[in-house]
Amino acid sequence: MLKYIARRLLVMIPTLFAISLASFFIIQLPPGDFLTTYAAGMGAQDNIIAREQLAVLEERYGLDEPFHVQYWRWISNIVCCGDFGQSFEWNQPVSSLIWDRLTLTMLLAVVSTLFTWLVAFLIGTYSAVRQYSLGDYFWTFIGFIGLATPNFLLALVLMYISFRYFGQSVGGLFSPEYQNAPWSLGKAWDLFQHLWIPVVIIATAGAASTIRIMRANLLDELHRPYTTTARAKGMQEWRLIAKYPLRLALNPFISTVGWTIPTLVSGEIIVSVVLDLPTTGPLLLRALSSQDMYLAGSFLMMLGVLTLIGTLLSDILLAWLDPRIQYEKAGRR
């Protein structure tokens, strides 16, 4: 097992490199840079101090240097000193801006993942065991609707409903009194109370596809010969389903969860913009449109890295659940 994890970690290194390169490349794509936009605004006032500041910034970041030099400067600072550079727009170190938001993003993604698993697992199992029942059709239909509804639309509809019928606007993750308060039990509870709306929204899309995967997997397994063998032993039907097909259907289920993590992070981003959550989404959107390159680049990279870690964790879980996986990998060598 340790060997397997070590090998997976080793494979991650080139991917991490690729992610950082891609992130940096993407934010370099737009013509011009933040300073040109910034300077255009400043120049009108003929502000000497601003100009000096500009020169310092340009000097520091070497914005007119070739790509690889800029990239090297950026990445080496991150790797050696955890310095993600400076946000132009906020005039603050990037690292002071992103961590809180990334933490909340990950919290949302993790809670949504767990919620998605729970819902998809229960409903998928029900639909497969009671195939073609009324409940099966109902959930299949709901699943399709969930699949066809964009996350942001669902968020809008929920906000509309809550505004219309409960007379309050949903949004944010904290009540005003806790907004800037230090962490406490009260704040955590407040967060929990706000968290469920985005979690439900994000999980709907993820759950819809996962239910279908779970149902199909379980249906496959229910007709496997070992299920018949277990039945021929005289096992009770529900015990048999829980021990054999369900257990085996879990494996492909968990391996697809690896793919749903990027979807959930994506969902989180867009839902956060709509609901204006203090997570990555809104700040990333703003950084992208104002070409605040170090901020946007760091967000992109960290989202990629976190997704990668999530996928890795789900792979490890899978290897632990299915003895064949390590065996196959070992056998291939």
Binding site: T15, F144, N151, V265, S266, A296, F299, L308, T311
Partner: protein, 398 residues
């Protein structure tokens, strides 16, 4: 110990083959049907199976209808998407009355009724009431604004509309500029539905070329392409799209942005199709009929084009159908965020962007509901259609 089934008497036994309950069609009709089944082309088998899928059939009809809207949007829409009337900002949906009560009794006269409104002093919000006295007749094939169909035929005929082109008809309500939402949704199909198709075609080309190369050569080329696919898929799509869309130069025209967006969507979209193509390629290579063809000395191109390609075009069609809704949803998301297309272009995403302000939506819910229903039903129909096609694509599998 004996078990004798009641020996049927001669008359009873000689049952007319056509009226006996089962095995009736055994000899003549059944054989014929079965022979049909064995000799039917793959497409025919697919069609037979697809026909049985009721939901997919209904969806197929709906999808065809939506694409007709795309082609003849100007004809179907009673107004142009940019026609506005400041008199009727945020006018609510009207109902279409079929009969008119007159002094001489009821007569058939499809019409809509006019509006009165009061403005709130503080919020400037208007409250509309129906003006029962104003009647605007609505007719099929009326003359409205002039347009050029496919840039060729100039006409002013519309499927339906008020007889007076300037009459207020807002069957699904008006937006903040007093533009007809129904017409805007119909015009929106042009961008939203075509972006799906164009994006899928682009990703299909990429997917088939790279997936085919991957499946054909195998070895290190395959693993390199697979790594790239895994890499792209491991990134969260929306931040990636956002970043790429933000990189489109501000100076670009809407047409350029449109193609820019499709390219961006294809960057992620091709990986799914490439995986399908490669997976199919690999599994087909192991199939007995391909081995048989190779052993018979059939040339390699012939094996690929005559034996392998026909058996996976159906799968590709199904995969493509399932990829289109994802593209449509992506476009709406990007435009909604303001990173994709913007006014004056009309797409479903652009329409939904207008529905961002929740308090105002609470007063004018149709601004959100109408385009949302359009998006959801279309995506739903495409999903059902794709599912039906995918099931039908395997006529021999049960």
């Amino acid at each position: 110990m004996t078990h004798v089934e009641p020996a049927p008497d001669t008359t009873g036994a000689r049952v007319d083959p056509d009226t006996s309950p089962e095995g009736s069609s055994a000899v003549p009709g059944g054989t014929k049907r079965r022979n049909n089944l064995y000799t039917a082309s793959q497409w025919r088998l697919m069609w037979w199976r697809f026909r049985k899928h009721k939901l997919a059939m209904v969806s197929a009809i709906f999808v065809v209808f939506v694409y007709l809207l795309v082609l003849f949007a100007e004809f179907f829409a009673p107004f142009h998407s940019s026609d506005f009337d400041a008199e009727y900002q945020h006018a609510p949906p009207q109902s279409l009355h079929l009969f008119e009560e007159t002094d001489d009794g009821t007569r058939f006269n499809p019409h809509v009724k006019g509006f009165d409104y009061e403005s709130d002093e503080e919020t400037w919000r208007r409250t509309y009431t129906t003006d029962e006295s104003e009647i605007y007749p609505v007719r099929p094939f009326v003359h409205g604004h002039e347009y050029e169909l496919f840039g060729l035929i100039t006409t002013d005929i519309h499927l339906f509309g008020p007889t007076d082109p300037d009459a207020p008809m807002y069957l699904f309500g008006a937006d903040r500029n007093g533009r007809d939402i129904l017409s805007r949704v119909i015009y929106g199909t042009q961008i939203s539905m075509s972006i799906g198709v164009v994006g899928v075609v682009l990703s299909l080309v990429l997917g088939i070329v790279l997936g085919g190369v991957s499946g054909y050569f195998g070895g290190w080329i395959d693993s390199a392409i697979q790594r790239v696919i895994e890499f792209v898929r491991s990134l969260p799509e929306i931040p990636l799209w956002m970043a790429l869309a933000a990189a489109l130069p501000q100076s670009w025209s809407q047409v350029q942005v449109y193609f820019g967006i499709t390219v961006i969507l294809s960057i992620v979209g091709w990986t799914t199709l490439a995986r399908v193509v490669r997976g199919k390629f690999f599994s087909l290579r192991e199939e007995d009929f391909v081995t048989a063809a190779v052993l018979d000395g059939v040339s390699k191109p012939r094996v690929i084009f005559r034996h392998m390609l026909p058996s996976f075009t159906s799968h590709i069609i199904a995969a493509v159908t399932l990829a289109i809704p994802a593209m449509i949803l992506a476009e709406t998301a990007l435009s909604f965020l303001g990173l994709g297309l913007t006014e004056p272009t009309v797409s479903w995403g652009v329409l939904l962007r207008e529905a961002q302000d929740i308090p105002s939506i609470a007063h004018t819910p149709w601004v959100l509901i109408v385009p949302a229903v359009a998006v959801i039903t279309t995506v739903l129909a495409l999903n059902f259609l794709g599912d039906g096609l995918r099931d039908a694509a395997d006529p021999y599998n049960k």
